[in-house]
């Protein structure tokens, strides 16, 4: 609980920084920040799922389901974007709820592959059924939200800065909900399912229900992220939500470190910024990514987020203190969920 004292001032500082940030950025970097915020929501929601010990490969496709759902509701059904976005998220959650019946009959490796198959089948159907999904070109000219504030006139949400603040607010609230959820009774049970599934079952916890719950909630926020994405860029197509995108999400989550709430966020921020810095390297970029990934597996088994703890432990060790305490990262078992373990 020692972190709690620090938490409030540093959160306020972070909020001030995030609010001021776009004014210090170039035009294209403002867009980059919008994308980054959206991906932050994707990886954070993914972590909720991972808390129960399951790694899914359908998350990005469900993000796409949110994008498609919201875009179609806004374009074809004439929904206001403000209504379409949460409805798109509900579409993603609904698909996840349906998928949870077959998928949670499996676990570990089988779940991983099963979710992958389900995701690819959904994505191929977007490609194949031109009506209403638009085929390989997807959906274009998706409207952006409209809001007229008294005294300010209509807010131009197609501009990066207003949309950045909109995204910041929605992602901020979502992260808060996810964080509270994790520290609630439900979150503790989810964690218990991960580490002590048989024990949890023996005390009467319906593990299927909680796994499915985590999956549905995570998918809701992934869908919301997809909706946020498509109403800014104005387009959604199947290629945006393919396996490659899913692999990147997995990398961000794991390199960042899944053991703590901030881990995936740190992962996506650090790696995306690095990726932009390496833009000059053009074709070498994926290779740099690959090397970072492998290096992280070897040297940062608890992720980037465990780095301060490791450094501290190393310093303590140098000072001759017995290095039993490896910082907060050691509160939970350091190695990642193992599909084989079950």
């Amino acid at each position: 609980m020692k972190a709690a004292k620090l938490a409030i001032p540093s959160l306020v500082a972070l909020a001030v920084f995030m609010v001021a940030l776009p004014f210090g950025l170039k035009l294209h970097q403002q867009d980059f920040m919008i994308s980054l915020l959206v991906w932050v929501l994707v990886v954070s929601s993914y972590r909720l799922m991972a808390l129960t010990g399951e790694y899914s490969l359908v998350h990005v496709v469900l993000m796409g389901a949110g994008a498609y759902g919201s875009a179609l509701l806004a374009k074809l059904a004439g929904f206001s974007v403000w209504l379409a976005m949460p409805c798109g998220a509900l579409v993603a959650a609904g698909i996840a709820a349906l998928l949870s019946f077959p998928l949670f009959r499996m676990s570990g490796f089988y779940f991983l592959i099963g979710s992958f198959a389900a995701g690819e089948a959904i994505r191929l159907s977007w490609t194949y059924f031109t009506v209403p999904f638009g085929g390989p070109k997807g959906i274009k000219l998706i409207p952006s939200p409209e809001l007229t504030l008294p005294g300010l006139g209509p807010i131009p949400f197609f501009e990066p800065i207003p949309y950045y603040y909109l995204t910041l607010i929605i992602v901020g609230i979502s992260l808060f909900i996810l964080y509270r959820l994790e520290n609630s009774r439900i979150g503790l049970i989810m964690n218990a399912i991960h580490w002590r599934a048989p024990l949890a079952e023996s005390v009467g916890v319906d593990t299927w229900r909680y796994r499915a719950l985590a999956f549905v909630i995570a998918s809701f926020f992934a869908g919301l992220a997809g909706a946020l994405f498509c109403h800014y860029y104005g387009t959604a197509n199947p290629a945006q939500f393919d396996v490659a995108a899913m692999v990147y999400v997995l990398i961000w989550v794991i390199v960042g470190g899944v053991s703590r709430f901030a881990g995936p966020i740190v992962g996506v921020v650090v790696l995306s910024v690095l990726n932009e810095l390496f833009r000059e390297a053009e074709q070498w970029r994926p290779l740099i990514y690959g090397c970072i990934l492998i290096a992280a597996m070897f040297y940062l088994p608890d992720g980037l987020v465990g780095l301060p703890g490791r450094i501290r432990a190393w310093l303590d060790g140098r000072r001759g203190v017995a290095a039993a305490e490896t910082g907060e990262a050691a509160e939970e078992p350091a190695d990642l969920a193992s599909p084989r373990r079950r």
């Binding site: 991983l112 592959i113 089948a121 290779l287």
Partner: protein, 289 residues
């Protein structure tokens, strides 16, 4: 009638390649518990090596294929030693490392061969064999089919009739018990990885003159290999072979009579159904603990 027979011939060739890929994947997963995401890239490397040795350096085709097989086997051994062995207690770590390697191999392929059009690998065996009027198999495909089948038979013989093969299967069944029996797990893991990689390399090498040789060619193949592996039962070698044949026939017939996208979509759904109804696959016996 001709179409049905021709489609059967097409499917037979496809089954041999699906089987080579799937058996390798199963070997690796069975022994090490790691999903090798870079399996498609090993296939790609096999194809690139044939392009380099055969099409560029003008080595005889079969020599080039053998060289590709050996080199990819060595890559597999190195992968086991450097990427997978340190992650033995953490299968997710192995998976992530293989994804890292996937990126690295793709970039190296781009650097070696550039992007743009596919690498040109002319067929070593021209012409075709007319089995019946209107039913033909290209000689290059015939050779590939024969070699692939022969390799599969060798692997089967090795696994069921030799002592080392027996040990390998023992490890796949129960690693701890096998270790207690005095089987050297490290050596068996390297063997499995080398063989699995070699088979992927061989598949790529044989198919090089028949397909698009380009840096991202492994992508589509790995999806097929997953489907076959799951349907066959993740730990079962005979299941993988049977599933490869069934899936190849299914996919080829649906593609011929309906549509390729539908074929893949249905394949994925079948895999999902198998996962739900019988997660151990059609031939699997092991329960997922």
């Amino acid at each position: 009638m001709e179409i049905i027979l021709q489609t059967c011939v097409n499917a037979l060739v496809a089954s041999a390649f699906f089987a080579l890929m799937a058996v390798g994947l199963v070997l690796i997963f069975g022994v090490m518990g790691i999903i090798n995401f870079a399996h498609g890239e090993l296939y790609m490397v096999g194809a690139y090596l044939v392009w380099y040795f055969y099409a560029s350096l003008r080595w005889p085709f079969l020599v080039a294929v053998l060289a590709a097989f050996l080199i990819v086997t060595v890559i597999g051994l190195l992968m086991e030693r450097t990427l997978f062995r340190p992650m033995r207690d953490n299968p997710l770590g192995g998976l992530i490392n293989s994804i890292g390697l996937l990126f690295i191999l793709q970039v190296l392929a781009v650097q070696v061969g550039g992007v743009g059009l596919m690498k040109n690998v002319p067929p070593a065996y021209r012409g075709s064999l007319e089995l019946l009027p209107g039913v033909a198999i290209g000689n290059q495909r015939l050779v590939a089919l024969v070699i692939a089948a022969a390799l599969l038979v060798c692997i089967w013989y090795f696994l069921t009739r030799t002592k080392v093969g027996w040990a390998l299967r023992a490890v796949a069944q129960d690693r701890d018990a096998a270790a207690l029996q005095g089987i050297n797990i490290d050596r068996i893991s390297m063997l499995a990885m080398g063989l699995g990689a070699g088979m992927a390399g061989m598949a790529g090498a044989l198919i090089a003159p028949l397909t698009r040789v380009e840096p991202y060619m492994g992508h589509g193949v790995i999806i097929t290999a997953f489907i076959v592996t799951i349907v066959g039962g993740i730990g079962s070698l005979s299941g993988a072979v049977l599933a490869a044949v069934l899936y190849a026939f299914f996919h080829t017939f649906v593609t011929t009579y309906w549509n390729g996208t539908i074929a893949t979509m249905l394949g994925l759904l079948i895999m999902l159904v198998v996962l739900i109804v019988k997660p151990t696959g059609i031939m699997g016996t092991r329960v997922s603990e």
